[in-house]
């Protein structure tokens, strides 16, 4: 039995030979520190047990590419305010419902308090909800990187076409290149080790293309390999990064050629910029306020901008003291370095956002890999 386009990228023999090449080509005694930007890669690394195939001199730092993880508590509080104080029907993706805002309140808890919060698989499901509830305001709580942004733009266009004046969008869409810039611009130290190269986003790159990363090589002299999400993609990308580092090269390479080209998806880019525009700055969990790093609705569409319609004012809310999500999202700490990892903070009772989404580094380690921390014997008893 085999699934085409899936099983080819999970082939055992090729995986083992790639792992062997990685071991052979690493310069002995040298530490290689690469960051996988995307939570999707973090998830795959733990899900397929890739850690077991990689030698100890190779350190993978988990990056901020998990949309649920990087959203600061202040923005979640605004969503809670929409649901509880403005009594809107709030729609969002499943993962978002479990992230705690202030006072450990999440949208899931707000729902049990009477908030009308509905999980959707596609933003466009909000259209139907708005149609069926013409007398009530319906807000789509939009989150995500460049991949999930075009569907939000389509939602806005369709709402306008249909004249659904009860529908609005609470935009929290964020951008990948500015976050990379923030990571690269941060001074390196003992606690913030230099990132020697990046495993670049796969799905995001289908939208923005390889051209969006040129600054990583040109301005910061680091290699970046755009990589697919399958295990073999990741192993091959690691090998290419090692080769670049060994040769002193800093180039943008595209391993994910089956889906990514230089220009990206121009139609999606146009549709996005027709309705959304770059904000002056935006607060990221762990990375602070980053200039021009997020998208809000264009002024001409402010009648559909939930922040304008409901007069939302963002407040700065500090993360819980014991939570290390900030450091983890910068790659400065590993999940297991956090004192509350796996004790106070678990997927059933998450304190920090990285424990909620399956793409969060903490959830990935907890769900798939924590037997290693417990000293449990790998595999055989």
């Amino acid at each position: 039995m085999s699934l085409r386009y899936i099983d080819e990228f999970r082939d055992r023999t090729i995986a083992l030979s790639l792992a062997k090449k990685i071991r052979e080509e690493m310069v002995p005694g040298r530490e290689y520190r690469f960051m996988e930007f995307c939570g999707g890669h973090t998830h795959a690394i733990y899900r397929y047990g890739l850690v077991d195939l990689l030698p100890p001199g190779l350190r993978l730092l988990h990056g901020p590419g998990c949309p649920v993880c990087v959203l600061p508590m202040g923005r979640i509080d605004l969503a809670l305010e929409l649901a509880l104080n403005h009594e809107v029907i709030l729609t969002s993706f499943g993962d978002m419902l479990r992230v705690p805002g202030s006072h450990s309140l999440s949208l899931l808890k707000a729902r049990s308090m009477g908030g009308d919060i509905r999980m959707v698989y596609s933003p466009l499901e909000t259209l139907r909800i708005a149609r069926e509830n013409r007398g009530r305001p319906v807000v789509f709580f939009a989150i995500g990187f460049e991949t999930t942004t075009p569907p939000t733009a389509v939602l806005i266009r369709k709402a306008l076409e249909e004249g659904l004046d009860n529908l609005s969008v609470f935009s929290n869409h964020v951008l990948t290149p500015p976050a990379l810039k923030a990571l690269l611009g941060a001074p390196s130290s003992e606690e913030n080790p230099t990132i020697m190269g990046f495993i670049g986003p796969s799905h995001v790159s289908t939208i923005i293309g390889t051209k969006a990363y040129r600054f990583v090589a040109e301005d910061y002299h680091r290699p970046l390999v755009i990589s697919g999400f399958e295990p073999l993609d990741i192993l091959q990308s690691i090998l290419w990064l090692i080769r670049q580092v060994n040769a002193g090269r800093a180039e943008i390479e595209n391993q994910y050629v089956r889906a990514v080209d230089d220009q990206g998806n121009l139609k999606a880019q146009q549709e996005t910029l027709r309705f959304l525009t770059v904000r002056p700055d935006f607060e990221w969990r762990g990375l602070g306020r980053i200039p021009e790093s997020a998208l809000g609705l264009r002024r001409e569409f402010e009648a559909l901008d939930a922040e304008v319609v409901f007069g939302l004012r963002e407040k700065d809310v500090a993360d819980p003291k014991a939570c290390e999500c900030g450091e983890i999202l910068r790659g400065a700490k590993n999940p297991e370095d956090c004192r509350i990892f796996g004790t106070v903070c678990t997927p059933d009772n998450p304190v920090g956002s990285c424990m909620v989404s399956s793409e969060g580094a903490c959830a990935a380690l907890y769900n798939f890999g924590r037997f290693r921390l417990a000293g449990a014997i790998k595999g055989e008893s």
């Binding site: 082939d11 899900r47 993962d95 399956s358 037997f371 417990a374 449990a376 008893s381």
Partner: protein
């Protein structure tokens, strides 16, 4: 039947309720215990220890490819009793109906229950009907309770599971959950999935007859095989190691799970069982399993380990290891 919809009088104990019983339930379930019209059923003496299990069914949609809430309510309880290695004696059925529920739909569901019970050869000997006001229920809920007996020579329980035991699965996993998800999410591929809803009492009887030293049987319903493995590990104080490639999953189920970002190990089954048995008897048990129509695709998928912390681990197809953990909340699709 004169009325087209359930109304409050159908649960009030008056004439309408008696008519509902006489016109619908009695002819469908047709057996001497029910016909006696008592509030109870008096059962004859039986040999062996008694086994009892109960199950409430709230499935949506009510009808799905491969089954419906009626057949499911029979199979679920039959299987729970059968997992003790028991022979089934009888079932009870309790209905909670919502005011306004179409009589025709109820009739279809009751016929399906009757057909399922008949195919298992088990009478539905007593029942109850309640009606709740419109908006206070979700159409129909069905509770069934089953009684069976198990001979002194058969003892199946998680406490008997020990490190070294082999773990067998009786066929393709995730079929039921996939059928439900595909219909519920309105996926255009919905027609390709069929629930595996089936009564497993006969398969269990064949497995026991094989003479293999079986330590525990359980059916991986809600939460799938992953949840079952964690339950047994916790209850027996062991761990488990599963070979990912050995677990039988249909290509279409794998494909659906890839699309939704869900692991098939967590997807529900309604016609599969997981067997724990002494290592030396594993092949014999597998042979008996595959000889039965409901166990054709059975496989040995792993073994019980002594791992610290009761971890259930999977060895991935290229030799890496990961945990298969308890679920936290519903399995949700990834968002990007």
């Amino acid at each position: 039947m004169a009325t087209k919809m359930i109304d409050m009088t159908h649960g009030s104990g008056g004439r309408s309720m008696t008519r509902l019983i006489e016109d619908l339930f009695l002819p469908a379930f047709d057996n001497p215990w029910l016909s006696a019209m008592n509030d109870h059923a008096v059962l004859g003496p039986s040999s062996g220890r008694l086994v009892m299990a109960t199950d409430s069914n709230v499935v949506r949609p009510l009808f799905f490819p491969g089954g419906d809430i009626g057949s499911l309510s029979v199979h679920g309880t039959v299987n729970d009793v059968a997992m003790a290695g028991a022979t089934l004696l009888c079932l009870s059925a309790g209905f909670i109906l919502e005011e306004g529920f179409p009589m025709e739909t109820l009739s279809r569901i009751v016929s399906s229950m009757a057909a399922s019970a008949k195919s298992v050869g088990i009478p539905i000997v007593t029942g109850d009907t309640k009606v709740v006001e419109r908006g206070k229920g979700d159409g129909i809920f069905i509770n069934t309770t089953g009684i069976g007996f198990v001979p002194e020579t058969v003892s199946l329980s998680p406490q008997r599971v020990v490190p070294g035991d082999k773990i067998l699965v009786s066929g393709f996993i995730g079929d039921h959950g996939s059928a439900i998800m595909a219909v519920r999410e309105n996926l255009s591929i919905a027609g390709q999935f069929l629930s595996d809803s089936a009564p497993l009492h006969d398969l269990v009887a064949s497995l026991i007859k094989s003479g293999a030293e079986i330590h525990c049987l359980r059916d991986p319903t809600r939460g799938g095989v992953a949840t079952l493995l964690n339950e047994i590990a916790a209850q027996s104080g062991t761990g488990a190691l599963i070979e990912e490639e050995a677990v039988p999953v249909r290509d279409e189920v794998r494909a659906l799970c890839e699309v939704l970002g869900i692991d098939p190990l967590y997807v529900a089954n309604e016609g599969k069982l997981v067997a724990y048995c002494a290592a030396r008897d594993a092949e014999r048990l597998l042979e008996a399993m595959r000889a039965h129509p409901l166990g054709r695709a059975g496989a040995i998928v792993g073994e019980v380990t002594q791992n610290k912390g009761g971890f259930v681990q999977v060895r991935t197809s290229f030799g890496g290891y990961r945990i298969v953990d308890w679920l936290s909340g519903d399995p949700l699709p990834r968002i990007c």
